[in-house]
């Protein structure tokens, strides 16, 4: 019923950065829904390669609060395809105005199993060999985690710079784990074109992100951690579609040597109003 109601909603052009792991301070416009699909193809030494995938439903609840719901799954080649859990994420912008550095508070609850391979973040002592267990065995491990991030992001002369610090607590009495993500990006053109176009340079945003683990409460630091560097490109079409691609390179022996990420998303404006109408029983 909700999705039937969306049939008459409008479309808004998104302005998404190419990051897959790092977050900037730009939240979803209020009332908009963005439906997103992402994939991570991962190479694996001493084991089969895999394809992790997830769907996100991102809603701008207000201009200062964005909430997202994720469904995760993965295929390990030569093994099986499994559903691996869900995540519920919230981002809140505490300050009213734009500043030199803009903080955003991030809170996420995850209920995933040990077979999850989307690598949406790297934390603690996450390493490549964690992914070697067969799906049937890995699924038995339950991870109910609370994840907190402090996002510090700046826009300057068309560039975006973002720094994320991450703290994760497995609710089953495990120590706090830490991680980081850094990103920088810029549209290929800063001025808009006077003509409507899909291939104008202003619709393309190029960037690079770097992320990795920082150990846990008892062994904080870089030892036995994995790190990645990933140049990426986002193409924001005026029709509301965004396509992203990001080859990712492992920076040490604990990291997967190569990941390829890609995704497509579609932004629908007026979702909140349509859902509100369902509750009010009104029709336009």
């Amino acid at each position: 019923m909700v999705f039937l109601a969306l049939g008459s909603s409008g479309v808004t052009k998104a302005q998404e950065n190419p990051y897959f792991v790092a977050y900037d301070h730009n939240l979803e416009e209020p009332g908009n829904l963005e439906v997103e699909y992402f994939s991570t193809f991962g190479t694996q030494r001493n084991g089969p390669n895999f394809h992790g995938f997830w769907t996100e439903f991102e809603v701008g609840a207000t201009a200062w609060w964005t909430t997202e719901f994720y469904l995760d799954g993965q295929t390990t080649f030569g093994d099986s395809t499994v559903f691996t859990g869900f995540r519920w994420e919230n981002r809140v912008r505490p300050l009213k105005n734009e500043h030199w550095i803009n903080p955003v508070l991030y809170m996420e609850f995850e209920d995933i199993n040990g077979a999850d391979k989307i690598i949406k973040e790297v934390e603690g002592h996450d390493v490549e060999s964690d992914f070697l267990a067969p799906n049937a065995e890995a699924r038995r491990e339950k991870n109910r985690e609370m994840e907190l991030k402090l996002i510090l992001s700046s826009n300057y002369k068309g560039w975006n710079f973002t720094e994320n610090t991450l703290a994760v607590k497995n609710l089953d009495n495990s120590p706090w784990e830490f991680g980081y993500a850094l990103g920088v990006s810029r549209p290929l053109a800063l001025k808009g074109s006077a003509q409507k176009c899909n291939f104008c340079l202003q619709h393309f945003i190029a960037g690079v992100e770097m992320y990795g683990g920082l150990g846990d409460r008892y062994s904080f630091g870089l030892h036995d951690t994995s790190h990645y560097l990933a140049p990426g490109l986002a193409w924001n079409l005026p029709s509301g579609w965004t396509f992203r691609v990001e080859p990712t390179f492992g920076l040490n022996d604990n990291s997967h040597q190569f990941l390829l990420r890609w995704g497509a998303s579609y932004e629908i404006s007026g979702f909140g109003q349509k859902v509100a109408q369902l509750f009010k029983g009104k029709h336009e």
Partner: protein, 149 residues
């Protein structure tokens, strides 16, 4: 994880969005007035900032394209006011300096549903302002309610 848990969370999310949307709004006129009142909060250094694209002949045309992509859904066709946001043809907006409008676009009015548009590069924000200013005032803009529910 059980399917029931998933369905429960989805229902909660949709219900939450619905309840937020269903919270009764203030009367339109009061809301518009309070949004226009935000213009007066622009700091002096922004208020006096000239539009660097004032002499760019393509700026308004490019701004129109940007407006249709990012703003029209809320502010309505020709910026005359829409279901979610007030008219930008009202005298309060048309008489505001370009720097004031730039400040509003950059900072948004996040407590009153206007998002922050700092994600658009500065030249695109100035192009939008060129377009909005090129439209000029609409006599009934401040009280326009023709396309409201």
């Amino acid at each position: 994880m059980k399917l029931g848990t998933l369905a429960g969370i989805s229902a909660l999310l949709f219900a939450g969005v619905g309840v937020l949307g269903a919270i009764p709004a203030k009367t339109e006129t009061t809301e518009q007035e309070s949004v226009y009142a935000e213009l007066a909060k622009a700091p002096e250094k922004y208020r006096n900032k000239p539009n660097p694209l004032a002499n760019d002949r393509n700026a308004a045309a490019a701004g129109r394209v940007l407006f249709e992509e990012h703003c029209e859904d809320c502010h309505g066709e020709q910026a005359a006011g829409g279901k979610k946001a007030p008219s930008l043809r009202a005298k309060e907006v048309q008489e505001a300096t370009p720097g004031t409008l730039f400040w509003i676009l950059t900072n948004g009015v996040v407590r009153k549903k206007m998002p922050v548009w700092s994600k658009l590069p500065e030249p695109q924000r100035w192009q939008l302002i060129s377009y909005i200013k090129s439209l000029g005032p609409l006599e009934t803009a401040g009280t326009k309610s023709g396309d409201r529910p």
